[in-house]
């Protein structure tokens, strides 16, 4: 099977369309970053508190928001999360409510606010859906419902762990009732639990609290990581090819990053640590693509010394087109699998890559190659060699037999 054979598309002839396309998206992204959504930073970079809550019934974000507001927490954001059937809600507090003195205060307040009505109905009882195995073990040890003697401590610790495991792993974090534990614990234990515990209609699944200092630090690190990897690329390509190739590759990758971050800004999706990882992957991927085309150009420049560079570039793009589209398609397939099956946690990551792969593939054809040609034309106008690019001796392929350790 073969999709593309001997294509002969004049890519360089369409460079003004490409330029217009890229400009529109870049400018739209920049405008959004400056004037509209800015760069929507996730809790990793901004600092703040995120609490993921699972309910035993369909949650009502409006009512939850009202409960939290009543507890005195301002500007909380409550939204449904994940698949509707999972009954999950994400509650976000911004940095003002996340004090560095008492990092987990916001979380504790949220927990109390959500328990509100249920807890007052069960004064003096603990919430079994939000208790830890340690607290549970202590309670059992104190009440000793099984009248154990010598081995009480290990037995109750194991029992508490079993109950918490059942809650978390079998019931996904929320028990419907204490009697639902019949298979796990003896009736005597259940009776004792009923005395000291109640079940609320929610369980906290996941908490992320980032203080302002860490947020700032991570922001700096992410910027540095991106800049350093661009610089690393520039140096390597300058060393392997001519410096203009490095510059073209870095400009291309910068273009991709700009458009991807711009898309996140336009769509108001939050940029988290994993999204940064995705952006760095995209930098690697786009660069990959660019190098494949550049390699072909370098090879063809040696073979076809008399042709115009723009013809050589066009030819090289066409020759590698089949590979470009196939690889993009296959990588896209895997990223799509991530997006569809990878769960909520990887959503931002896979979205960034979906955009990134499209843009990265486009840009190596539409941005990187025209930059090379434009540079050459500019040199030509200044009366310098206008035909093929001068190449560093020995840097290229050319003599394949030495290179392969067959």
């Amino acid at each position: 099977m073969e999709f593309f054979r001997n294509t002969n598309i004049d890519f360089l002839g369409k460079k003004w369309y490409f330029l217009a396309f890229s400009l529109i998206f870049s400018v739209a992204g920049i405008m959004s970053m400056l004037f509209w959504h800015h760069i929507p930073l996730g809790v990793d970079f901004r600092g703040g508190t995120l609490v993921y809550v699972k309910y035993s019934h369909t949650p009502d974000p409006g009512a939850i928001h009202a409960d939290i507001e009543r507890a005195g927490l301002k500007n909380a954001r409550v939204q449904r999360y994940g698949q509707a059937a999972n009954n999950e809600v994400l509650i976000a507090l911004d940095i003002q409510e996340t004090s560095e003195q008492d990092l987990s205060k916001g979380k504790d307040q949220i927990k109390e606010a959500l328990q509100g009505p249920a807890a007052s109905a069960h004064a003096d009882k603990q919430d079994l859906n939000n208790t830890s195995s340690l607290a549970l073990a202590n309670y059992l040890l104190e009440k000793n419902p099984l009248h154990l003697d010598a081995d009480a401590n290990p037995r109750y610790t194991a029992l508490a762990q079993a109950i918490v495991d059942y809650r978390d792993k079998v019931k996904s974090g929320v028990l419907g009732s204490i009697d639902g534990l019949k298979g796990v614990a003896d009736p005597a234990v259940l009776a004792s639990l009923n005395d000291g515990f109640f079940v609320s209609d929610f369980g906290i699944r996941n908490v992320e609290i980032v203080g302002p200092q860490v947020g700032q630090q991570l922001r700096k690190q992410a910027m540095l990581a991106t800049l350093y990897s661009l610089a690393g690329m520039l140096v390597y390509l300058g060393f392997r090819f001519e410096w203009i190739y490095g510059v073209a590759a870095v400009l291309t990758v910068f273009h991709d990053t700009l458009i991807t971050v711009g898309a996140f800004s336009l769509l108001n999706w939050e940029i988290s640590l994993t999204v940064i990882a995705a952006i760095l992957t995209l930098i690697g991927y786009s660069n990959n693509d660019t190098i494949v085309v550049f390699d072909r150009i370098r090879e063809n420049v040696k073979l076809l010394r008399r042709e115009k560079l723009s013809d050589i570039v066009n030819k090289s793009i066409n020759q590698t087109l089949s590979r470009t589209i196939l690889t993009a398609g296959l990588t896209f397939l895997t990223v799509l699998a991530l997006f569809l099956f990878g769960g909520e946690v990887l959503h931002g990551f896979s979205l960034a890559l979906v955009i990134g792969i499209l843009i990265g593939t486009y840009s190596s054809i539409a941005i990187a190659a025209p930059i090379l040609v434009a540079y050459q034309d500019w040199r030509g106008q200044r009366g310098q060699r206008a035909i093929a690019m001068p190449l560093r001796a020995g840097a290229g392929s050319g003599q394949p037999k030495e290179k392969v350790k067959a």
Binding site: A225, L326, A337, V404
Partner: protein, 539 residues
Amino acid sequence: MNKTLTWKVVVIVAILLLFVFGIFGIPRDWSGKGLVAAVADRIHLGLDLRGGTHLILQVQVNDAVNVDSDNAVARLKEDLRKHKINYADIAKPDPVNHPETIVVKGVPPEQTSDFKNLVSERLPDYDASSGAENSFTVSMKPATTSELKNRAVQQAIETIRNRIDQLGVNEPVIQEHGLGQYQILVQLPGVDDPARVKEIMQSTAMLELKQSLGGPYSSEQQALQDHGGVLPPDAVLMPGKSIGATRDNESGESWYLITRAAAVTGRDLRTAEPTRDENGQPAVRFILTGDGGRKFYAFTSAHVGDFLAVVLDNKVQEVAVIKEGIHDTGIINGRFTEQQTQGLAMVLRSGALPASIKYLEERTVGPSLGADSIRSGVRAALAGMLAVLIFMLIYYRWAGVNADVALILNLIILLGFMGYFGAVLTLPGIAGVILTVGMGVDSNVLIFERIREELRNGKTPPSAVEQGFSHAWVTIVDTHVTTIVSAAILFIFGTGPVKGFATTLVFGLAANLFTAVFVSRVIFDWVLTRKQRGEALSI
């Protein structure tokens, strides 16, 4: 099959076995369950997949510097008195931001050289420089300051590790975090109660046994009144543990007059354990070291009939009459819960933190979410992998089998690497695996497309394979090196999840260089030796 080819196949099989061993080790039990357990033993799951608590804390290193400079102030005062050097005032002007700086004011001009000599002799870690109006700035040498700070972090790590170890957490991670920011990363897999962990880590638990000179008083004012408005110079007022409002004491406050000097401190402690007092209430029993025991006996036998205060973190826990000389054991009680006595005993055993700590970041992943993440991550990985494998088969036919073998081998080597290096698999790490599959297949596509091109140009299959591999090799090296560069930078700068992603990406790409080029080539060569001259290649 010719001889070199045989050797290459042997190499490939050997490497395959090596990495399969990396994944499984030698399983104790060859059933499905046993194999899963063997893998879990070698490839560790990250917190996001296992559930657990992740904390980043800041060590307030200035505390440690302050302790040292406070001592220096005390020593300096004493020495100046001894050497009869006059001064108006010694103080630390800004202990919060500049704990290393001491300012001495009003040293007479004729004594300045004596003063300088004294500082350089008695405080070798400090430098004195003269300022305006006969004042001197005595500040700690920068090398000493940074050593103190670093030591505080290392000590804090040790102390926290001791405390965590006593909690019985499996595979805790406690290490310095970031570069020179005096931060500590604590990761506790399977711990679902960060509040309790924090309580245990944070309490400084400075235990002192001191003499109580009077109390309880219901307020500071009342204590002052009882002593005619002036406290004895060697004693301070300390708050007691709030004992709840009683009839005669509405506020529930209590204050004691306690000597400054301690009979024994936490350093003299050999061990501490939770117990119950004579009333059956939870309490902590402590045993002193031989030295501490002797000191304590000397003190108690000299003070029979006086009051002894158990002071914890500058709060009076308990006051009792000394009935006789006590050798080496005692009990702390004070309305504790069972859980608190366990925590207190643990903290007393593991020693005090050298500096206070502040929490910067806290993440808790519930085990239910971790289990869900594994499920969806593995599902995504399998789906992506299958889609790629099937596509390659359809598009490249027999050569697709070749690519698929290379891909599967790539995955085995990647997992084997992780097993050998004890790398941690996180959810973004699984994403890295999936991406490796996507990008790994790129090398095969590059090579195969090139071979097709060469075939179209009229080359014979053996020469097309030869040319295809040699041309693609250069490109593959360039693309892999640049991607590894960016992954390595991610690894250096990234934290937590990002690091896990970079790890799998680097291992995966390294493995890919071997499988997509070497293994795939060997398979082609093997196919070619079995073909008649001029027979077409299935690609």
